[in-house]
């Protein structure tokens, strides 16, 4: 089993979700995160006090899939999250040791 972690622009979440649903992915976990890479921050000025805001809001999507699905899922995420501008995000693939369904106790591929 593999876990796919994707950091994407927040407004792209719906597009990514639709694209994954189309290929049969029926669940995911998302979190609101902040970060920066090559996309620079911005300036805010409050009554003359200037602040540079480095961290930009992003969405992190986490999905656990069977190893065979990884390439297809990564491709779909990259397509759907793409805008061509700086800050589109990154996708990481990690190994998952175990998975258990809480309700039934199923393990492994039956659990994801």
């Amino acid at each position: 089993m593999k876990k796919i972690e994707a950091i994407i622009k927040p407004f792209k979440l719906d597009d990514v979700k639709e694209a994954l649903n189309e290929i049969g992915i029926q669940g995911m976990t998302i979190s609101e995160v902040k970060g920066y890479g090559r996309q620079k921050g911005h300036k805010e000025i409050y009554r003359g006090a200037e602040y540079v805001v480095d961290f930009i809001p992003k969405i992190k999507i986490e999905i656990v899939v069977e190893a065979a699905w990884v390439d297809k899922v990564v491709e779909k995420i990259q397509e759907a999250a793409y805008t061509g501008k700086l800050g589109d995000g990154k996708i990481f693939v990690l190994s998952v040791e175990k998975a258990i369904r809480v309700r039934t106790g199923e393990k492994g591929n039956e659990a994801i």
Binding site: E44, I45, Y46, R47, G48, A49, Y51
Partner: protein, 431 residues
């Protein structure tokens, strides 16, 4: 003969209602208006100012700002009716202070009148001014002052700084005798509070990380809402200061709105030009700048003057806060001096220029053949500023001794006063 008798009767019936007898008779229109004005001004402190200041405070100190504002009003309510009123408005002693005849409001009955309104109404109306003046001062020291120190400061400041200045200008003291014009509190409220804030912020010291760390306002939404409530309440502040429901009150009402609107537009324009963005914080600040500067002038100037007063206030306020403050390096956190002090000074001087005797008889400024008024205003501004600075300095020293230091611990300042002092959070946001 019959005609003459009817005429005489008619005249004798009407006479009590003419202005010759107005001083001694309760006027229900005036009374109703001043009671309403009092309620409007009351709302300016725990609602308007609390939101305005609270929204500009950092989130971790939002409630503390509210607490200090609320307490300013509550303590002001009590101090005023115990000894504040009599010190400000009691029988004059040497043109410097009021006598103690009305300690605990003794001698004031249900039937006592001040002009055409019950004295009790006048007492409460003036009380709301005292309370908001001291509340304004807290804008300079948010995020770092001990709550106990603030409480002691409020009681001492109202007694030894606010009441004397109030007496000088409105209670029959020397500034009034000199002919200084201050319709609703340019000197008594804004310059007084602004200078006090500057002194207090210097003595408490800058916030940790000031100039280096980002200090984001908790909610511009709350600040804008607060500014709108202040605008609404200010109609009571300025038009109510006519102490009558009449043409002068109406005129004050008009110029107050005009100046506020111009102040907002001017600040927004200045900010848009300099920083390339019009901010809501700027618009809200411009509103207050316009309101502050029209305060001393409200019952003395006409609408055209108000356009100018508001315009300059917006621009000057922006300059004070965005440029001057950084150059001079002080941490007057929410610009009590930058907006209230500086725009109050502009308003007081503008009163000396634009006072139009057609609005209030006997009050004429430079443009109406009385250049001396500008000098009188200048003297009153300087005297208020010097007294406020010195007296506040002493009050702060005493406060520091009585409460064992003015400032919270470093750890508490970093953690945030809402948690450290009050054990509360401003908003319950899940997760």
């Amino acid at each position: 003969m019959k005609c003459k008798l009817i005429l005489l009767t008619a005249v004798l019936t009407v006479l009590p209602f003419s202005s010759a007898f107005a001083e001694d008779v309760l006027n229900s229109g005036d009374t109703a208006w001043i009671i309403v004005s009092t309620a409007l001004v009351m709302m300016m402190t725990p609602a308007g100012l609390a939101l305005f200041y609270g929204g500009m405070s950092r989130y971790k100190n939002l409630l503390n700002t509210f607490a200090m504002t609320f307490m300013s009003y509550c303590l002001g309510s009590i101090v005023w009716v115990l000894w504040g009123y009599t010190l400000a408005f009691g029988p004059d002693v040497g043109e410097l202070i009021g006598g103690l005849e009305h300690l605990f409001l003794d001698g004031i009955t249900v039937d006592s009148l001040t002009g055409t309104i019950p004295t009790t109404v006048f007492v409460v109306f003036q009380m709301t001014f005292a309370a908001i003046t001291v509340a304004l001062v807290l804008g300079s020291i948010v995020d770092r002052m001990k709550f106990s120190s603030w409480i002691v400061f409020v009681v001492l400041w109202l007694t030894f700084v606010y009441s004397p200045v109030c007496h000088w200008v409105w209670g029959g003291g020397w500034m009034h005798a000199m002919g200084a014009l201050d319709f609703a509190g340019g000197n008594v409220v804004h310059i007084n509070a602004g200078v006090a804030g500057l002194v207090l912020s210097a003595m408490v010291g800058k916030r940790l990380g000031y100039g280096k760390e980002a200090m984001f306002p908790s909610s511009i939404t709350l600040t804008a809402l607060g500014a709108a409530m202040l605008w609404f309440g200010w109609f009571g502040f300025n038009a109510g200061s006519a102490l009558a429901a009449d043409g002068v009150a109406a005129s004050a009402f008009l110029v107050t709105n005009t100046s506020a609107a111009m102040g907002a537009i001017a600040w927004m324009a200045a900010e848009w030009y300099v920083n390339k963005r019009p901010t809501v914080l700027g618009i809200a600040s411009g509103v207050v700048a316009g309101l502050v500067s029209i305060t001393p002038a409200a019952g003395f100037v006409d609408m055209k003057a108000a356009l100018v007063i508001g315009l300059v206030a917006g621009g000057f306020g922006f300059y004070s806060v965005a440029v001057l403050k950084r150059k001079l390096g002080y941490d007057d956190s929410l610009d009590a001096f930058g907006v209230h002090g500086m725009c109050g000074i502009w308003g007081a001087l503008a009163t000396g220029v634009f006072a139009n005797p057609a609005i209030t008889g006997g009050a004429a400024g430079l443009l109406y053949g009385n250049p001396r008024q500008v000098w009188i205003q200048f003297v009153s501004i300087v005297a208020t500023a010097l007294f406020s600075a010195l007296a506040t300095f002493i009050v702060v020293l005493v406060t520091r001794v009585v409460t064992g230091g003015l400032r919270v611990d470093e750890d508490d300042e970093v953690k945030g006063l809402d948690g450290a002092i009050h054990g509360e959070r401003g908003f319950e946001i899940e997760f």
